[in-house]
């Protein structure tokens, strides 16, 4: 009898294996009437999975966004920690289990995460035209309207726009190497002080270098090309193998994430660190994390400029509340606060010309960045993000061809 019970249980459990893919479309839609949306989202709880690798971003969210959406819209915003890959694996697990409603309502994504979530149909959309504040967004900007060469199609909402910058310590590096060639010389002369993180930021640097080595950014626009990838990634690996012995710890290991790299930099173990956010150096100096002698710069070959976005989960049953939160995050008020170097220093996605004059002035009078390069200047050196496959492949090959060698 006991045995029978157990077998019975097994049958129930195994039935779990075959019921995936049955998408639940019963989740609510976002109403076209915004006042309806506001009304129905009051009192809801929204779960937002985001990368939490930076204390000041976390602080912006926890002590500015969370209380504000609570007060203004009566929404409880719960933030959970998870990078792109964790978002993907969480949502896949839910799809496979055929769960009726998702644990996550809203996600902070871009590039390859967007690509993968679209692949498995985990994103809700198009929803952009329903948000009143999208009228301010600078959709004409190619760094905003395309995410890793993919059209955003209304499935994700731009939130911030930034460019990869290198950060160096002026006390340790008199004149920073401005090109890949100069970098090679510098690294050989100063072994052990340069490296890159084995995460999104580090791979973005690799991408910039790969494009730089090709000499022709046009090659990397449009869809993924195996030919282009193999040709120029080989060049990239050759370059890295050449400097590898002169990297931090002889290139045997790399900082696992950018936070760890920042720490090595602030301790003086490294002369360089980097950031996906060109304005971060000011923010970090203000918070006392980086030495005052830190400066940011950009290679002559250019660096990747991209936007990061917010998406709504298809399986969520609080899509309207999530839309309200997103609409708030792209409001001029929230964007302005976010852009202050003392808060986060994240570039805005709004088009200043669309804004009423008073707001435009407010944006223009944000305290100047002191240590980061000029916005206009680096814009000239901005590279577009190539298709997401480049990122996925670089991640894998970096592990196989560099780390594991």
């Amino acid at each position: 009898m006991m045995l029978r019970n157990i077998i019975f249980l097994f049958v129930i459990i195994l039935s779990g294996c075959n019921s995936e893919k049955q998408q639940s479309d019963k989740g609510e839609e976002i109403s076209d009437d915004w006042s309806e949306v506001l009304k129905s989202s009051r009192g809801k709880k929204v779960t937002w999975m985001m990368w939490q690798g930076d204390p000041y971003i976390n602080k912006y969210v926890s002590s500015y966004v969370v209380p504000n959406v609570k007060e203004k819209f009566g929404i409880d915003l719960e933030v959970v920690s998870g990078q792109g890959n964790q978002i993907v694996s969480t949502l896949i697990a839910e799809l496979e289990a055929g769960s009726s409603s998702s644990e996550l309502d809203m996600v902070w994504i871009n590039g390859e995460t967007f690509y993968q979530l679209r692949q498995i149909g985990a994103l809700h959309g198009p929803f952009l035209e329903k948000l009143p504040n999208t009228k301010f967004i600078d959709f004409s900007n190619k760094f905003i309207n395309k995410d890793f060469q993919q059209s955003i199609d209304g499935y994700e909402c731009p939130w911030g726009n930034v460019q990869l910058a290198l950060i160096y310590n002026k006390d340790m590096v008199e004149e920073p190497p401005k090109s890949l060639k100069e970098l090679k010389t510098w690294v050989k002369d100063n072994p052990g002080q340069f490296t890159l993180s084995n995460d999104f930021t580090g791979i973005t640097l690799l991408k910039s270098w790969m494009i730089g080595l090709s000499g022709d950014p046009e090659l990397f626009t449009g869809e993924f090309s195996e030919e282009v990838y193999s040709k120029y990634s080989d060049k990239l690996w050759d370059y890295i193998k050449e400097i590898k012995p002169y990297l931090w710890r002889q290139g045997e290991t790399f900082p696992a994430n950018i936070a760890q790299m920042h720490q090595l930099f602030s301790n003086g173990e490294l002369a360089f660190t980097m950031s996906n956010n060109d304005g971060e150096v000011d923010n970090k100096i203000l918070q006392g994390l980086f030495p005052e002698s830190s400066r940011a710069f950009i290679f002559n070959e250019g660096t990747i400029r991209n936007s990061h976005y917010l998406g709504i989960v298809e399986g969520s049953d609080k899509k309207e509340a999530a839309a309200v939160v997103i609409n708030y995050l792209i409001s001029p008020e929230a964007q302005l606060h976010k852009m202050k170097p003392s808060v986060w220093g994240d570039g805005t996605v709004l088009s200043l010309n669309e804004l009423p004059d008073s707001l435009k002035v407010a944006f223009e009078s944000i305290e100047e960045r002191k240590y980061a390069p000029d916005r206009e200047e680096i814009y000239e050196l901005a590279l577009e993000e190539p298709a997401p496959e480049y990122m996925i492949r670089l991640f894998e090959d970096f592990r196989q061809k560099i780390i594991e060698q």
Binding site: I13, M49, Q52, G53, V80, G82, E94, S99
Partner: protein, 263 residues
């Protein structure tokens, strides 16, 4: 000469053991610990500790959450484990049954979580407090069974039967004799079960989808964002309850190892 060597070694071992606790505590009182200062520890700053009293504090809620999870898991595991272990102790298939208890316990919890994830999501348990407790129970309960099977003996069973012939019912046999007699062992098992649940990170993080922010999950988060000062305060909060339980259990602690299947 020999005695001295022995004492020196003892003092050395004591300091190796006690130093980390003291050091982490002191470290938690400061921020901006820049190279190369050793004990200067940068600025004295008990802000993080003060913020604990704030009702919005993530650390405080993490502490309460961890306590709730570990206490519930331990109470369930100890009570059900004690009852189950008697049956298994008496069973003809004792050893075979015990083998199956070792397995979930020795298998890495995070891999177990990975294997179970799909079922947890299906059952709507993923990302919830109850889900984390259920998952922890799957590791801690077998442990408790293993622990108590090593404790049961003929005398205890005979004593339980004696109560019946003296006129007590099943209930009073448990409440008036078996449980009071086993109090030290139950207390120890509780301590160990609490600790296993208290320590667990990988499983909680995976099945909790980051929503169940227990202290270990928070420590990991703080280390990830290079914020060692918060991590230090969270570490202090993590060390205190087990030490407190250790203090309560100190009288019969060294006996405990007798029943401990592992750890």
């Amino acid at each position: 000469m020999k005695v001295e060597f022995r004492n020196v070694s003892k003092v050395l071992i004591y300091s190796v053991i006690v130093f980390p606790i003291i050091w982490i505590f002191i470290f938690s009182l400061f921020t901006n610990w820049a190279f190369p200062s050793i004990f200067g520890f940068g600025e004295f700053n008990i802000n993080i500790w003060e913020r604990l009293l704030d009702s919005e504090s993530l650390l405080l809620s993490g502490l309460l959450l961890s306590l709730i999870i570990s206490l519930i898991t331990a109470i369930l595991s100890v009570s059900l484990g004690f009852a189950t272990s008697e049956v298994i102790y008496k069973s003809r298939y004792k050893n075979t049954l015990l083998l199956s208890a070792y397995f979930p316990y020795v298998l890495s919890p995070v891999v177990l979580a990975l294997l179970l994830q799909v079922y947890f999501v299906k059952a709507g348990l993923s990302g919830s407090l109850i889900g984390v407790i259920v998952a922890l129970f799957m590791i801690v309960y077998p442990y408790s069974v293993l622990f108590f099977v090593g404790y049961w003996n003929e005398n205890l069973i005979n004593m339980k039967q004696l109560v019946r012939t003296l006129g007590g019912n099943k209930f009073s046999a448990w409440t008036k004799v078996v449980i009071p007699v086993s109090k030290p062992v139950i207390s120890l098992c509780f301590f160990q079960c609490f600790i296993i649940a208290w320590f667990e990170f990988g499983l909680t993080n995976l099945l909790g989808v980051g929503k169940v922010k227990t202290l270990p999950v928070q420590i990991y988060m703080y280390i990830q964002e290079a914020n060692p000062y918060y991590a230090a305060v969270a570490s202090c909060l993590m060390i205190a309850p087990p030490l407190f339980l250790l203090f309560i259990n100190r009288r019969w602690m060294s006996e405990s190892i007798k029943f401990s299947p592992l750890r």
